[in-house]
């Protein structure tokens, strides 16, 4: 136990040295560090959002909204397919879980089934992409054909919606200009966004909360005179952006509508006459053509700019807009115009996203937490170090040396892995420190027992290490098990705590069995003590 081959000694010292080097970026100031050769690339620990301040927002796809959209789209497809086949139908509409249509002539039902079945496309799921089921279950009930959205169908739609949303959200969050936001999918229908150092979480949520579905729709000739009136054919009720009580009837027919999907650019500017903030936009070729035609045919009539099913404004078309550019005004503030431009540029989200969890820490609380955490760590370390010297004297010094090596290796390892340091993580660090002495205490107590039972120093130390090894491994494996569970369930800060504590267990066992042993062996061989000072 006490003989170390040369390469073993070197590799132990090398491991400790590496730990020290990797942990140094956390201590040395950034300016000095970045000028050093070779090691300038090494990074310090990443601070968690609770320490540097920032927002953590968990979004979830609104399933009902997505289902509504799917059904609406599917109704359109059915209408078109039946028209092409010249099959008369009535009662095409939504059911609780899909769409149903009544075929007028019973003789046509079979033909209708044949025409409609291809609309329900297979969904590939599983690793090998095998088609396990279709988007819709198609069922015939007398004259009625019923389409039910399947679970796999909905899930594949959600998956696609999440994929698209990730990209769009990325554009929107990046437009805020903060450093290194992370955006990742979580579970089936969620997206996690973490933006460090954000000052205004409300603005972030406003940017994420907008689907940004933009439409230019002709206003109907007749408008509601009294509350609760039903809109005429091919018209729809849309509330005003500022006042939900005030509604406007706008046309639903696709010929009277241009979608915002064809936008290529949107920028915040100021109106040249009124000098109020507006958003100017530009269509692609297809959009420009449609928009030109719509405005040309309807000069003198008002059209409504509808954003997320709310009327932003309804200007009158003064002249045909053929150049494919235009502007949206709507009593915006400068920031509102700016944000609207951002969401329009990034494109519309495929479905509404709701915030299901938010954790924001302001920069002042973050820096307070760091200061408190660092101070507590220093005090705690001093306390533990002194306690070991009081309790074990010379051997306590050895334990303290091992403790510093342990701390350096732990911090170095965490920095190397790019782990995030959270406030509970600092707690984990300090707790590791307190518990790390345990391995040394076990060894020392054992050596002492063996020494008192009449062995020579060498033999006592030798046996002490050997006997303590099994105990240390057993004791640390159990801690590790608890930590592993913590890591598995945890998110964010709790996980940071688990990582610190878990790695701490590893470095602790390592230092106790290599460094402490090495130092004691050196002492033993160079001083040849007659007594063990324990």
């Amino acid at each position: 136990m006490l003989n170390f081959s040369r390469w073993k000694t070197l590799s132990i010292l090398f491991a400790v040295l590496l730990g020290i080097i990797f942990s140094l970026p956390n201590v040395v100031s950034r300016e000095v560090w970045s000028r050093l050769p070779l090691v300038s690339q090494l990074q310090p620990l990443v601070l968690g959002l609770d320490l540097q301040g920032g927002s953590h927002v968990l979004l979830e796809v609104d399933r009902t909204d997505l289902q509504n959209q799917l059904s609406r789209q599917f109704i359109g497809d059915i209408r078109q397919a039946l028209r092409e086949q010249r099959i008369a139908y009535s009662g095409l509409g939504r059911t609780a879980n899909g769409v149903s249509v009544r075929i007028s002539n019973p003789a046509d039902v079979d033909r209708a089934m044949d025409a409609l079945r291809p609309l329900s496309q297979p969904v590939s799921i599983g690793l090998f992409g095998e088609a396990a089921s279709n988007e819709f279950n198609v069922r015939r009930d007398g004259n009625v054909i019923v389409f039910e959205l399947t679970k796999a169908g909905l899930e594949s739609k959600i998956g696609r919606a999440i994929q698209q949303s990730l990209e769009i959200i990325g554009k929107r969050v990046n437009a805020l200009g903060t450093t290194e936001p992370t955006i990742q999918r979580q579970g089936v229908d969620r997206i996690l966004i973490q933006v460090p150092g954000l000052q205004d979480p409300d603005r972030l949520k406003a940017l994420l909360g907008q689907t940004a579905k933009l439409q230019f729709r002709l206003v109907c000739d007749s408008q509601p005179q009294a509350e609760g009136e039903r809109p005429p054919l091919e018209c729809e009720e849309v509330p005003d952006q500022d006042n939900a009580q005030q509604v406007m009837w706008v046309q639903t027919s696709s010929r009277a509508t241009v979608d915002g999907e064809d936008l290529t650019d949107a920028q915040p500017t100021f109106d040249s006459r009124s000098n109020e903030p507006v958003v100017s936009f530009r269509f692609n070729q297809k959009g420009a053509l449609r928009f030109g035609k719509l405005t040309q045919e309807n000069v003198g009539r008002p059209f409504a700019i509808v954003l997320d099913n709310k009327v932003v404004s309804a200007p009158v078309i003064n002249e045909p807009i053929l150049g494919g550019t235009g502007q949206i005004s709507g009593r915006f503030t400068t920031q509102e115009a700016n944000d609207l431009a951002i969401v329009l540029r990034s494109g519309a989200l495929p479905a509404k996203l709701t915030v299901v969890e938010e954790r924001t820490v302001g920069p002042s609380l973050g820096s307070d937490s760091i200061r408190a955490g660092v101070f507590a760590t220093i005090i705690g370390t001093i306390g533990v170090v002194l306690f070991m010297i009081i309790g074990y004297g010379f051997f306590g010094l050895i334990a303290d040396l091992a403790l510093f090596a342990n701390l350096a290796m732990l911090v170095g390892l965490l920095s190397l892995l790019g782990a995030t340091l959270t406030l509970p993580g600092i707690a984990g660090l300090l707790l590791t420190l307190g518990m790390a002495v345990d391995s040394n205490v076990l060894v020392f107590e054992r050596i002492r027992e063996e020494w008192r039972s009449g062995r020579s120093p060498v033999s006592a130390i030798e046996t002490g290490f050997r006997a303590a090894l099994a105990t240390i491994v057993d004791a640390n494996v159990t801690t590790f098990v608890a930590v592993a569970v913590l890591f598995g369930m945890g998110s964010g800060p709790v996980r940071g705590f688990a990582v610190t504590l878990g790695l701490g267990v590893i470095t602790t066992v390592f230092t106790a069995f290599t460094l402490t042993r090495l130092i004691i062996a050196w002492w033993l061989w160079s001083y040849r003590p007659k007594e063990v000072p324990l």
């Binding site: 915030v355 307070d368 010379f394 406030l423 159990t478 098990v481 913590l486």
Partner: protein, 308 residues
């Protein structure tokens, strides 16, 4: 070469097992009371498990809790709870889960932050929707149960089944009493507390395993010794280690409790309490349980005695 101070004198012979019947009564009493308190009063669940919103603000220029309550109360956001947090100008505002699903929560937060006004600094906002809080509750429960089961399995493999049961009994003891104390002191029960409880499980187990290791060693070494004396011997020979490791961990935790800031005070308090109760239970629960269950050796010995 200088020596340290012995915190536990050499040749300490405390008859732990003689005291253990009192320990047993005390533990049983504490566990039952803790369970009762928990059943009657419940825990002070934080928003992680209950859902809702938490806003930490710092006020400037003499704005009082009363002022803030006035600004919030007109908003019809249900019951708002305001309390001082660490310092008189640091105030914690809790809003209950708003009716109307996840979207309503976000709306409530922006309404509240706007109403608080520009002269109040918002230091922290935490919002947990009803769905997420339900999931977190489930995950937290699973984590604690899973940790206990895994530990039982590990100890069963490494030792005999009696040891496994003893370790789990002492773990349950620690967890139940800790929860009772959290309930009495109305400490906010959140995700961090779950982390603290899992750490307590780890620590208490660590302690128990060290003692069990020694008992197992003595079982091999002293084949003739009475089981009670043997366990007493093992406890006494590991006592110095139990005390020193416990103290060193407590020193670290106390530094964190005093200087680590208000945000993790509940977390460190729980751990400090857990370390104390975990150390106690390794000696007064985990070890005596072995006597009650009867050792493997004695069952074997009796079998041998029966054989003529």
């Amino acid at each position: 070469m200088f020596q340290g101070i012995r915190f536990v004198p050499d040749d300490t012979k405390i008859p732990f097992m003689r005291y253990s019947r009192f320990g047993f009564f005390l533990s049983a009493f504490l566990c039952v009371s803790a369970l009762l308190v928990f059943l009657i009063d419940g825990l002070n669940y934080g928003i992680d498990f209950k859902g809702g919103t938490l806003i930490e603000v710092r006020t400037h220029g003499g704005i009082t809790i009363g002022d803030l309550r006035g600004r919030i109360s007109g908003l019809e956001l249900g019951e708002a709870e305001l309390q001082e947090f660490g310092a008189p100008d640091n105030i914690l505002i809790r809003l209950e889960t708003q009716p109307g699903g996840d979207a309503a929560q976000t709306a409530a937060v922006s309404k509240a932050t706007q109403a608080l006004g520009k002269d109040v600094e918002i230091r922290r906002v935490e919002l947990v929707g009803p769905k997420v809080s339900a999931e977190l509750t489930q995950e937290g429960t699973i984590a604690v149960v899973l940790a206990i089961i895994m530990v039982l399995i590990y100890i069963w493999f490494r030792f005999e089944w009696q040891f496994g049961l003893g370790a789990v009994a002492s773990l349950l003891h620690d967890v139940i009493i800790t929860i009772g104390v959290l309930s009495i002191l109305r400490i906010e029960f959140n995700l961090n507390i779950i982390a603290a409880i899992l750490t307590i499980i780890g620590y208490s187990l660590n302690d128990t395993v060290v003692i069990y290791d020694r008992i197992r060693e003595y079982l091999r070494k002293f084949k003739k010794m009475r089981y009670v004396d043997l366990i007493d011997g093992a406890l006494n020979s590991t006592l110095a280690r139990t005390v020193i490791t416990g103290t060193s961990t407590l020193i670290a935790l106390l530094a964190l409790y005093v200087f680590g800031g208000e945000v993790i005070r509940g977390f460190t308090f729980t751990m400090i309490f857990g370390i104390l109760i975990g150390t106690y239970s390794s000696v007064f629960v985990a070890a005596p349980v072995l006597i009650i269950l009867g050792s493997v050796r004695e069952t074997k010995a009796e079998a041998q005695k029966a054989r003529p």
